[in-house]
């Protein structure tokens, strides 16, 4: 092949190769690992051998719908089959059990106004549960906060916090510093941001140091 021909072939070949997106830029992701000073990093995610991750939802009130939304939301963040989560009807067959902290709040349509911090949630830390105990299941609890909140404000808050807590159960162990991310300590957005998505994507391509029981 002549030199100009070779150059043309190289240009054509290069033009056919799309540029891989940049993901390791500053601010594109946030910390997802727990740390034990001085230098132990605890990285947890569900390995491919444990997929699908099975979620059981307390059948009362809006919990099944909240978990279904959370599962679908996180499933949709992945491009390459890194995660598959499903909802199961039997708590004995679950990897994660999601329950009400107390009496379920009324199941009403969520408020569409500004986000109000009207509910709370918590998740047992997988890096603690699977590292330091023989437990096989993670527990997530959701509930309404006391105060002058409307049922609709509580419902809207629970929808955000359910997605947030399921994010913890997937291995996003830290909170995002940005209020535009669902993994912010007080989530005010309705869905994961691009930063949330890139962070969980990065997590599921990082070698875990904590594994669930087989």
């Amino acid at each position: 092949m002549t030199r100009p021909g070779l150059a043309l072939a190289c240009v054509v070949a290069a033009a056919c190769e799309p540029t891989v997106p940049v993901r390791d830029c500053t601010g594109c992701t946030y910390d997802f690992a727990d740390t034990i000073p001085p230098d132990t990093s605890l990285v947890f995610h569900w390995p491919a051998t444990r997929l699908p991750v099975r979620y059981y939802a307390d059948p009362r009130a809006a919990m099944p719908a909240l978990v279904a939304t959370g599962v679908a939301t996180w499933n949709a963040q992945f491009l390459y089959g890194e995660l598959r989560a499903v909802q199961v009807a039997d708590s004995n067959a679950a990897d994660v059990i999601v329950q009400w902290e107390a009496t379920p709040p009324p199941d009403v349509p969520p408020d569409t106004g500004a986000a109000v911090d009207a509910c709370a949630g918590s998740t047992t830390n997988p890096s603690v549960v699977f590292r330091d105990s023989s437990a096989r299941v993670l527990h997530v609890t959701l509930g309404a906060k006391g105060g002058a909140f409307s049922d609709a404000q509580v419902a809207a808050c629970l929808r955000r916090v359910a997605i947030h807590e399921l994010g913890h159960s997937l291995g996003l162990l830290k909170h995002s510093p940005s209020r535009f991310d669902i993994m912010n300590a007080v989530p005010t957005v309705s869905f994961p941001s691009v930063t949330d998505r890139r962070t969980v994507e990065l997590l599921y391509h990082t070698l875990p140091t904590v594994l669930p029981p087989p």
């Binding site: 056919c16 190769e17 799309p18 499933n75 990065l202």
Partner: protein, 207 residues
């Protein structure tokens, strides 16, 4: 999605099983073989990896009619289906679900000496994912333009049934709306190679 596959199979089967109704100058061939497809997506998250379909069964039905002494005009409907797989740098493979392709091409075929023939075609190709997840979560995108080259060999002994073997190469560009959202700035050139056995009906000698 399953109903769509059956409908396609019905059309292909109908074409292949209707030799009695063919006009004298119409030749119909069906080819069944195996297809290799090159990488659809190359990405890197911590480590690099590729996404490509597994080796796939491929069925093509071609209708052709003479336009000269050695030339034929032809139209081909091509279908293949297989698992989409992610191949990691560590050597692990993860299935991402089933994906099928349907392609339609029109082109010219020319007979060559010693039982060989060559054909070129252009057309369109559509990806049909079984599930709207992963790289297909926002759909499979527009129909991609397709260029195709085929080389066939038909031994004299199999002329009555138009038996022969063929090697097909085609190329198209691949990108999906989800990949574009992820930041892929252009489509990737995808190559496919198919080796197939074919049979033909109509048009006199099916060579």
């Amino acid at each position: 999605m399953r109903a769509r596959y059956w409908r396609l199979a019905g059309i292909a089967g109908g074409l292949a099983c209707a030799p009695a109704a063919l006009p004298a100058q119409l030749l119909v061939r069906a080819a069944l073989g195996a297809r290799y497809t090159s990488t659809l997506v190359h990405d890197s998250i911590v480590t690099p990896f590729d996404v490509r379909p597994a080796l796939a069964p491929a069925l093509a039905v071609t209708a052709a009619t003479p336009v000269g002494e050695r030339w034929m005009a032809q139209a081909t409907l091509d279908f293949s289906t297989s698992a989409l797989e992610r191949h990691d740098a560590a050597g692990t493979t993860t299935s991402l679900g089933r994906v099928s392709t349907l392609a339609f091409t029109v082109g010219l075929r020319r007979g060559l000496p010693a039982g060989f023939a060559a054909a070129v075609g252009v057309g369109g190709l559509k990806y049909l994912p079984a599930d709207a997840t992963g790289i297909f979560r926002q759909g499979s995108g527009a129909i991609a333009g397709l260029g195709q080259v085929t080389v066939e060999y038909a031994p004299v002994a199999g002329a009555r049934y138009g038996l022969g073997v063929q090697a097909r190469y085609d190329a198209h560009r691949f990108v999906t709306p989800a990949l574009q959202s992820e930041g892929f700035d252009s489509a990737r050139l995808v190559h496919r190679v198919t080796l197939a056995v074919r049979a033909g009906w109509g048009g006199g000698a099916a060579r």
